[in-house]
């Protein structure tokens, strides 16, 4: 039992780490009152997904794109997930930028970054 658990941890540590990151990110989004930290939580959540795509990119076979030049038979990194992650990172950066711009505007209007304070300020209006 413990042996198999250790074995899974040794061979699949990336997946274990990924779910720890995923959970941490989601917990930050839900529980943290600070808006900037919420956004960092979203980023952490997304980073976990990038890790997931990279971790699963090792496949058996030979590199598919370079015809006739591939000598590496065995475990190679499939290029498709890497392209996906590259795209997803760009999307994530754009989202973070928009989110931060909104947070700056909220701070300018309400003078706070904390959600609980924000709720009080809005309830007073």
């Amino acid at each position: 039992m413990i042996d198999t658990a250790l074995d899974i941890l040794a061979s699949r540590y990336a997946y274990a780490l990924l779910f720890v990151l995923l959970g941490t990110g989601l917990y930050m989004v839900i529980a943290n009152e600070n808006l900037v930290k919420k956004l960092i939580g979203v980023n952490l959540f997304q980073s976990a997904i990038f890790l997931f795509f990279i971790a699963m990119a090792y496949v058996d076979g030979r590199a598919p794109i370079i015809k006739g030049k591939s000598h590496g038979v065995g475990e190679i990194a499939s290029p498709l997930p890497q392209v996906i992650v590259l795209t997803a990172i760009v999307v994530g950066i754009a989202l973070t930028a928009v989110g931060l711009a909104l947070i700056i505007r909220i701070y300018a209007e309400y003078g706070t970054l904390r959600e609980d304070t924000l709720r009080e300020v809005r309830a007073d209006e």
Partner: protein, 540 residues
């Protein structure tokens, strides 16, 4: 017909490239954004209708980007299902511009975002690649957040941030699902996926099921299913009046379309029915949303917020229809997608017109509207009647097919919920109809306001409203009334621009109302568009 497929990438690329033009021209000229957007969307209407006519006569149009084989590259596909959505997106995007010319948010940056949104929505409709779909989901998301935040008040920024965080988590959930499916199959193309998924399910059912679970949760968030709908009311309420029709009509519709596409073209009916508890789960989520959304809509005081909760319930109906996995239910879901989009665009545009001309934003303020603005009130009544689903209207046809599907699937509780949803829709629509037509404006307003002052001692807001109400009661002159209420609104720090109502705004409301009714008559035609080739291909 060989080069018609080249229009497909242009549908996405043209609005996205042209979205930079208003900003560039904005360096020199002030108000060019609207013209650029109008030209682009008109061209898109022409392109989508051309493509749709090709699709409905000659069959599916596909385009391989860069000539890559579908196994690695991105394929754009326009079939009977997506052509309907693409036309809907282009026509609505062009139509709502008639509203924003005078009434909506102005400025070149707004129209840049508007074109970006249109391009993203068309991208969702035409893409044939599950990861590409994620990118378009996020493009639409980004543009929507920016559109919502373009409202004047600080509330709109908070609503946009809330939507941004929830929307991003939702899209990320979908991405995890895509990752799991990619792990199981090694491809991202929808057509190829549909072929290899059955084998993958046999090899490792847990992986595919986990992938489906993440996709489902992600889309429940994006389509705003209860209890993941919390972003939607805030977003719809605080978005500028000019953009809410687009967001309400198209964004959730495009997401719901994408979800339907994944369910039926990627996972396929066989996977849905053979996986234990899957359809039950989807149907339950949909039905709970129908009931919860309607119940929450009934207790709202703000009209736009009420319509937002109504969207939760109407999309619940669509998701429930997806879960039924019968041909009739699927046709019903498609018709309801289109019908609901037209109705909601009209309702939000009407709400915007009424807010601009009559200064009414809550249900109580709609009192006596029929006397002051018979045209807008009449059109709103027509749209509400369509939403309820009274026979010759778009709402009826969709619900009829979905109910038929529920009966075919022998799921009687679902049939009851669907028929009951009509009653629930009536509950909140009737409130508005009663206020507009049977409650006189002045006699009720004065006692209502004085009563509220008497009970809670009068906060600032109430004071301002009392002043406005009393003034309005004293002189019946509409012009003075508008003036005093503007002052009252300024006092409550909402500080919106007072806009006059243009013919374009009225034309949009009238056009959507007439379209909603005529779509009811065209229901059979819509079903016919889908029926012969697409449905049989999916279900066999």
């Amino acid at each position: 017909m060989s080069s018609v497929d080249l229009l497909l990438p242009l549908l996405v690329a043209v609005p996205m490239l042209l979205s930079t033009v208003p900003i560039v021209l904005g360096l020199r000229f002030d108000r060019t954004g609207w013209s650029v957007a109008a030209l682009t969307t008109t061209a898109l209407v022409a392109a989508t209708t051309t493509l749709a006519s090709v699709v409905y006569t000659d069959g599916v149009v596909t385009h391989r980007l860069g000539g890559w084989s579908p196994a690695y590259g991105i394929e754009l596909v326009l079939d009977e299902f997506s052509a309907l959505i693409a036309v809907l997106v282009a026509v609505t995007a062009a139509g709502v511009l008639a509203y924003t010319r005078v009434g909506g948010p102005r400025g070149n940056t707004f129209y840049s975002g508007y074109l970006l949104l249109t391009g993203g929505l068309l991208g969702i409709s035409v893409t044939g690649d599950v990861f590409n779909l994620f990118v378009f989901l996020e493009i639409v998301g980004l543009a929507t957040y920016a559109m919502i935040a373009s409202g004047d008040g600080p509330e709109s920024a908070v609503a946009a941030l809330k939507y941004l965080i929830l929307g991003t988590v939702g899209a990320s959930m979908y991405l995890i699902g895509v990752g799991l499916i990619f792990m199981a199959t090694g491809t991202l193309n929808m057509g190829v996926l549909a072929e290899v998924l059955p084998a993958a399910v046999e090899r490792d059912p847990t992986l595919v099921r986990a992938g489906f679970a993440f996709v489902f949760v992600g889309f429940s968030m994006k389509v705003a299913q209860w209890p993941l709908h919390t972003w939607q009311p805030d977003a719809y309420q605080h978005a500028p009046d000019g953009i809410t029709p687009v967001i309400a009509a198209l964004v959730s519709t495009a997401y719901a379309y994408a979800f339907g596409r994944l369910l039926y073209s990627v996972f396929g009916p066989e996977f849905l029915t053979s996986t234990p508890y899957l359809t039950e789960l989807v149907v339950t989520v949909g039905c709970v949303s129908v009931v919860a959304g309607s119940a929450l809509a009934v207790i709202q005081t703000d009209v736009k917020r009420m319509f937002a909760f109504s969207s939760v319930s109407q999309f619940g109906l669509i998701v429930a229809a997806y879960g039924l996995v019968t041909e009739s239910a699927f046709i019903g879901a498609t018709i309801h997608l289109v019908g609901h989009a037209v109705i909601k665009a009209g309702l939000f545009a009407a709400a915007g017109v009424i807010a601009a001309s009559y200064d009414a934003r809550t249900v109580d303020e709609y009192a006596g509207l029929a006397d002051e603005h018979p045209l807008v009130a009449g059109m709103m009544a027509l749209l509400l009647v369509s939403l309820i689903g009274i026979p010759p209207s778009a709402g009826f046809v969709g619900k009829w097919y979905i109910a038929l599907g529920a009966v075919e699937a022998q799921l009687w509780p679902v049939a009851v919920v669907i028929l009951f949803s009509t009653l629930l829709t009536l509950a909140y629509s009737a409130r508005l109809l009663e206020k507009m037509y049977f409650t006189p404006a002045t006699p009720l307003e004065a006692p209502h306001v004085s009563e509220s002052v008497a009970t809670d001692g009068g906060e600032n807001e109430d004071d301002a409203e009392t002043a406005a109400g009393a003034d309005a009661a004293n002189d019946g002159d509409a012009g003075t009334r508008g003036g005093t209420e503007t002052a009252a609104l300024d006092a409550t720090a909402t500080n919106r621009d007072r806009n006059t109502v243009s013919y374009g705004m009225l034309a949009l409301v009238v056009a959507t109302a007439l379209l909603a009714i005529s779509l009811g008559f065209a229901g059979g035609f819509l079903a016919g568009l889908l029926d012969p080739s697409f449905i049989t291909e999916v279900f066999n």
